[in-house]
Symmetry: C2
Subunit: 246 residues, 2 copies
DNA sequence: CGACCCCTTGATTAGCCTCAACAACCGTGG
DNA sequence: CCACGGTTGTTGAGGCTAATCAAGGGGTCG
């Protein structure tokens, strides 16, 4: 709220380019509806019809998949301003599930609206493509983390990423309430909750972070990022090639 | 070659929509240049300037990253018709390296050309976005595989994916020359070459695949895909929402 | 023919999982 | 208000999967 007619997406995008009034208006139309979800609610289940995309207005959510062996992989965390359910762009049925981690509020919009954006606002379409690409790179970073680094580094990486992404939205210092269970962190990192617990403890013991309840404070951010091999993919993206605004 | 004026990308895209002559012409302009690379050649190194994207005309390549601990993660394999170096859409400098696995031939084109596509051919832009999204979902599948499944399933998945993706290009039965070393398969699956070897042997012993040299034959594709939890993300994508062609 | 790369197999080690028990916390209902 | 069940966090003990270390064989290229 409190920005550009209350459009969370416009607020996010304006972090990278200066939006024209027409563009702001176009983005505003994507957030006309709003739906609320309780903590734990399933926004969309795998294989559901996937005509809608969502813009996160409030809360944390995750995109995940259940595997044949009963385990779960969390693909991505979502924060206010994120577009989620993007896999619906490629498929008629959802490839993954979306679950509310905290109470959350979403603005659904139909794929057709996205088509209109491609028709009328090529610059916005290209920018959204660029941001989706940055997310893909961040996903690849996590792939490398899970595939090729030890448990401590994996846990460090999610912590780094959460802080970095929330800082773009602003209002985050170096302490943060993280409403994730250790089981959820495990499902994001490919570890068990038990081992996440031990790794968190190790990070605390070595003075990298501090915990009280669900609040995490970064004590030595440089070393934490170093161990994790963290690169902030969202700080700056290349907008030099984007077509002109309309 | 042998299709639509020789554009590999047009050939790929026409698998999903019927291209108009204007669209074909626009795609053709992306493949005016062509560069050849020898097996093992580095097309682009991490941190290099990333103004160009590439369309694969011939050969196999991979996108990978080297980690601080000396290991390597292969993010994606590339086959003819693929667009690679897409991370350049988001960043001014490459987030990953591209290496030729076999002798390969690529058509580089500048990001500005992509901007033109967004301006003049919204339907193509949207389709490319949809395909990039399908790839992101496939990447997420591999994340789940590496994070939450055992070594055998991970190896099975790469095999399934390679076959499925090459079948879209056609001319692949259920036997295929796979020019990957076991080390490369390990770097793609988060395993060591030694363990890849053992898992391949297990797949052979149980009659799921057959090997002679670098040729792999699928003997029980259903069971292999079942173990891997494989879903073919490239068979069919939703084009119903795309804007009208111009 | 030698050097190098890749594949293959065995033996040992280590990191993470599994199982288990208990404490702390929370929302709910009596 | 307290009792209660359920969820989450914490810690220990032991087991298994995959890594590491090591050695040898086959193929290819200079």
């Amino acid at each position: 709220m409190g920005f550009l007619g209350g459009s969370c997406l416009a607020e996010r995008l304006s972090h990278y380019v200066t939006l024209t009034p027409r563009e702001q208006a176009a983005l505003g139309t994507l957030e006309q509806q709003e739906r609320s979800f309780r903590r734990g609610a399933v926004v969309r289940r795998e294989h559901d019809s996937a005509r809608d995309l969502f813009i996160v207005r409030k809360g944390w959510l995750h995109t995940s998949a259940l595997l044949g062996n009963g385990s779960r992989q969390i693909m991505r965390l979502h924060f206010p301003g994120d577009i989620l359910g993007v896999s619906g762009v490629a498929f008629a049925r959802a490839a993954d599930s979306v679950v509310a981690i905290t109470d959350a509020s979403l603005c659904p919009f139909d794929k057709d609206r996205l088509a209109c954006l491609f028709e009328d606002h090529p610059r916005l379409a290209a920018l959204i493509f660029a941001l989706a690409t940055a997310e893909r790179v961040a996903l690849a970073d996590r792939l490398a983390s899970i595939g090729r680094t030890a448990a401590r580094a994996r846990v460090s990486l999610v912590i780094c990423e959460i802080f970095a992404r929330l800082r773009i939205a602003g209002e985050v210092d170096n302490a943060l309430h993280i409403p994730l269970t250790q089981e959820e962190i495990g499902d994001a990192t490919g570890l068990t909750a038990v081992h996440v617990n031990r790794m968190m403890r190790a990070l605390v013991d070595e003075g990298l972070i501090e915990r009280s309840g669900s609040i995490v404070r970064l004590l030595d951010e440089v070393r934490l990022a170093g161990e994790a091999g963290f690169v902030n993919r969202f700080a700056k993206i290349d907008t030099s090639w984007l077509p002109a605004a309309r």
